[in-house]
Each structure stands twice: as structure tokens, then as C-alpha cells.
């Protein structure tokens, strides 16, 4: 699928992190801007971090106009990604339901639906009858402990095969000459007079004027190598899958109140994700406490799956920012760029972040679509509050 090239001593751009963000940036640099003297380095393997640990949900029904425009562009790019990369990424726009269990969440969903519609995103609040028609296995009775009062229905939302997205981008970037160096750990970033001049890795030194931090989980540590402080706190998020069963769940179902989201894979497994652990940590161990809480919450929604068994569980690392929006763009160190702080919503933004980062690197100008998400917004008091729609239960 891709080469295992020797590490060269000089590159025009070094991208740290071979996940969807790093690989999409490399692909866009090569395909749109003709910049192919690019290295993507990763201390692990392609898609081994957040890009392979997320629950593969794609949607654009966010709350702020900036967020909606950004994620909508990403959905559009995902829609044509299989054709563009000549690689089946199994994008299934099966519809996405966010359940409301109380009046205040119903109000927020109405707000989101109206912001979405103004931006041309298909999004509407529906009632229990239509929810029951879309998802017959949900308990929509008024006797439920957390009764389902309504839902934000987002038909273009869905799921995608996240590994295929990583592999498709990697193969396409590699074919155009981008060097992907796996098991190559960044040890230092050389900054001279406020400008990036190179990096040190466990396989040797590279001279480069541009370093792009596309990591998740380790973004603070990578930025610290360049002397840049980030307003980021790293939290684990756990997920699990069940044994496979016949297809019965045709949409993605999310409940913020119950801290859970559920979808069924093409193999028939149910994929569950939860909210981030409120305690900051770099630990990726699964816990029994998570499994127990998850099962309790899922059975509130779908009592009929009580006999299903959990096949495996895992954790990934989420870099949470104070306003639940990412940090993309330039930093006080010239040549050191960041595409970080993606919290629980990084995978769905991979293609658009790659497109915007590549434009920034090639032209030196920050594209309008990411202008609101700059690092300087924290010091200048221009936060982009996405807490209401970023994920569940923050």
C-alpha cells in the first residue's frame, strides 16, 4: 500500500502524526499544491491513535455558525472521498439522531436545528412517533426513566470505516511522493531566532522550515518541544463493541443525558462510545467501571439488547480545549503550525482540516474557514463555544 522510505536529511514540510489529520494534510499538499517533499512521522503506526480509536461518526449539526460551516465542508469532502482516493471508505449516511430527555435539551436542539438550516445543513427536531419509526428498538414510552421527548434528526450524518480513511489517504499521499515514516518518534524541535529550522527524531535529524503538529493526546508535549504552551487538557475516552448480531439499528443514536452513542457496523457489532473521563490522564487502559455504566445507560434506551455481550473495549486520548473548539493555524514560533485540540470530534473533521492546513502551508495565509479557531483567541478573549454540540456529557 505504501513505501517504507529512508529518512532524508531535508524536507520542505514535516508533519507530526500519521493519523487522518496529518495524512489528509500531506495528501492535500501534494495533490492541490504540488508540495511533495513532505515527511509524515509517527512514533507508532498509521492510524494507531485517535484516528483508529474513535467511533467513526461523521456529522455537521453543530451549534455555532463557524462550527457548522467547518464540519459541513468536512461531510462534503467525505462524500466524495472514496472516488477521490479510489479507496472504499464505506461512508454510510444512515442518519444521526440526538435524543432529548428534558425540556432544556429539546430547546438546545431546536436552536441547533435552526442554525443548521440557515447554513443549509439538513437538520430537524422530530417527535417520539417518528423516532420510533426510525429506530423501533428504542424505548419511547413515557414510563422510561429518561423519557425520549424528541430528537435532533440529521439525515446526512452517519458512519465511516475510519481505518480505510487513514489507509486511503496514506496510499494516495505516498503515491505522489510523500514519505510516511512510521515508528519514527519526534524527540526535539530546533528553533532558531523564533523560527523552526529542523527536528530531531529517534532515526536522525531533519532540516525543515515547517513543522505541523497533527497529534492528538500528545499535542501539548509536541508543542512544548517548540516552546509553545497550549490551553489543552488530555482526557481518555472509552468505547466498546458487542458481538455481531443481525442488522437492526439503521441510524446513529446519541443521548447526551445518558452519555452514550450507539451505531451498528456492517459486520453487525454495536459500537458504543461514552463521554470523556473528567479526570485528565494519558492512560489508555479500559475500566470495568466504564463498562458497567455504559451497559446501564444503553439498556435504558434499548432494553431488548440485554443479552448482548461486549466483545472488546478500549480507550483513546482526547485533547480538550476550554471552548470545545479546535486550535488550528500559526503559533508564535514561525514555521510551527498546529492542528490540535480536537477533543472528541477530530476524526469527522480530518478532510477539511487537511485541506485548510495545506492551503495555510502553501500560501502562508490562514483560510477563512479556520480563521476563528486560531491559538490567539484565548489570549484575546474570542472563544468559539461549542460545548452544547461538541459531543456528549461534558
Amino acid at each position: 500500500m505504501w513505501r517504507h522510505p529512508e529518512l532524508r536529511g531535508t524536507y520542505d514540510v514535516v508533519i507530526v502524526g500519521a493519523g487522518v489529520h496529518g495524512l489528509a494534510t500531506a495528501y492535500e499538499l501534494a495533490s492541490r499544491w504540488g508540495v511533495t517533499n513532505v515527511a509524515v512521522i509517527d512514533k507508532g503506526y498509521i492510524g494507531g491513535g485517535g484516528s483508529g480509536r474513535n467511533t467513526a461518526i461523521v456529522r455537521s449539526n453543530y451549534l455555532t455558525p463557524e462550527g457548522v460551516a467547518f464540519y459541513d465542508r468536512s461531510v462534503k469532502l467525505y462524500e466524495r472521498l472514496a472516488a477521490e482516493l479510489n479507496f472504499n471508505v464505506m461512508f454510510s449516511q444512515r442518519g444521526h439522531l440526538t435524543l432529548a430527555h428534558n425540556d432544556s435539551s429539546l430547546r438546545t436542539m431546536r436552536w441547533r436545528a435552526e442554525v443548521n438550516k440557515l447554513r443549509g445543513v439538513d437538520s430537524e427536531v422530530i417527535g417520539p412517533e417518528e423516532i420510533a419509526r426510525l429506530v423501533p428498538y428504542l424505548d419511547v414510552s413515557t414510563a422510561a426513566r429518561f423519557p425520549i421527548l424528541g430528537a435532533l434528526y440529521h439525515p446526512p450524518g452517519g458512519t465511516i470505516r475510519h481505518d480505510a480513511v487513514n489507509w486511503g489517504y496514506a496510499r494516495a499521499a505516498d503515491a505522489m511522493g510523500v514519505d510516511i515514516h512510521q515508528q519514527t518518534e519526534l524527540l526535539g524541535i530546533d528553533v532558531h531566532d523564533g523560527e523552526v529550522v529542523g527536528v530531531t527524531t529517534n532515526r536522525g535529524r531533519i532540516s525543515t522550515p515547517v513543522v505541523v503538529n497533527c497529534t492528538a493526546g500528545w499535542s501539548s508535549l509536541v508543542a512544548a518541544l517548540a516552546g509553545v504552551e497550549l490551553p489543552i487538557s488530555t482526557h481518555p475516552l472509552e468505547a466498546a463493541v458487542t458481538e455481531p448480531v443481525k442488522p437492526f439499528l439503521g441510524t446513529v443514536v446519541v443521548s447526551g443525558t445518558l452519555h452514550v452513542y450507539v451505531s451498528q457496523t456492517d459486520r453487525g457489532e454495536l459500537v458504543f462510545g461514552a463521554s470523556t473521563d473528567p479526570v485528565a490522564s494519558y492512560s489508555m487502559r479500559g475500566s470495568l467501571g466504564f463498562c458497567e455504566e455504559l451497559a446501564g445507560h444503553v439498556l435504558e434506551l434499548m432494553p431488548s439488547i440485554a443479552k448482548l455481550r461486549v466483545l472488546r473495549q478500549w480507550a483513546g486520548l482526547c485533547d480538550i480545549t476550554p471552548d470545545f473548539s479546535p486550535i488550528i493555524g500559526v503559533t508564535p514560533v514561525k514555521g510551527f503550525l498546529v492542528d490540535v485540540g480536537w477533543g472528541t470530534y477530530g476524526f469527522k473533521a480530518g478532510p477539511v482540516a487537511g485541506e485548510a492546513m495545506a492551503e495555510l502551508i502553501a500560501t502562508g495565509k490562514t483560510p477563512e474557514i479556520i480563521a476563528a479557531f486560531d491559538l490567539a483567541r484565548f489570549a484575546e478573549g474570542r472563544l468559539v463555544g461549542e460545548k452544547g454540540a461538541a459531543a456528549v456529557g461534558h
Partner: protein, 92 residues
């Protein structure tokens, strides 16, 4: 499940606590600039090793305390009253 050592109540289940974040000193209010306040509000060291943290025993003694935790292994090695409370206890 993580067990958190409260200096007053002993080790308890993490669900009883609210994790506050890095134990930092507030800037000096009369002289701090807006940039210093925002750095105090938002910036995190977010290290992967030992970090001195502030915790609140929400469902226990309802007191704040300071603990040292390793952010990768989640081991604790110390917990004590917060600095301001310690200074009062020391009569300063």
C-alpha cells in the same frame, strides 16, 4: 476504578470527587494584566508525568486538597491541604 487519597478521609472512589485541574496560584489581582488572567484561566501544563493537582471531595468532607498524581500511570504519591489553608494553619 481510581482510588483518590483524601488527606482527611483516606482513599475513596474517584466518583466521590471533582477533579479541578492543575494546582496553580491565582495571579495578584491588583497588578495582573488581562493576558496573565487568561493564561491563568486557560493554559495547562498537561504533562504526561507527575503533576500537582487540585481536587474537591464533593461527596465526602467537601474540602479542597492538593494531590500529586502521575498522569500516565494514575498513581498518587502525596495528598495534602491546599497551600492557602496550610499557610493559615501555620499561622502566616
Amino acid at each position: 476504578m481510581l482510588r483518590v487519597p483524601c488527606p482527611w478521609c483516606g482513599p475513596r472512589n474517584v466518583d466521590e470527587f471533582r477533579f479541578v485541574g492543575d494546582a496553580t496560584e491565582r495571579p495578584d489581582a491588583p497588578t495582573a494584566t488581562p493576558e496573565e488572567w487568561r493564561a491563568y484561566l486557560y493554559l495547562e501544563r498537561n504533562e504526561a508525568g507527575w503533576v500537582t493537582e487540585s481536587w474537591y471531595h464533593r461527596a465526602g468532607c467537601r474540602r479542597y486538597f492538593v494531590a500529586e498524581r502521575h498522569r500516565t500511570s494514575n498513581d498518587f504519591r502525596d495528598s495534602r491541604p491546599p497551600a492557602a489553608q496550610q499557610r493559615m494553619a501555620d499561622g502566616q
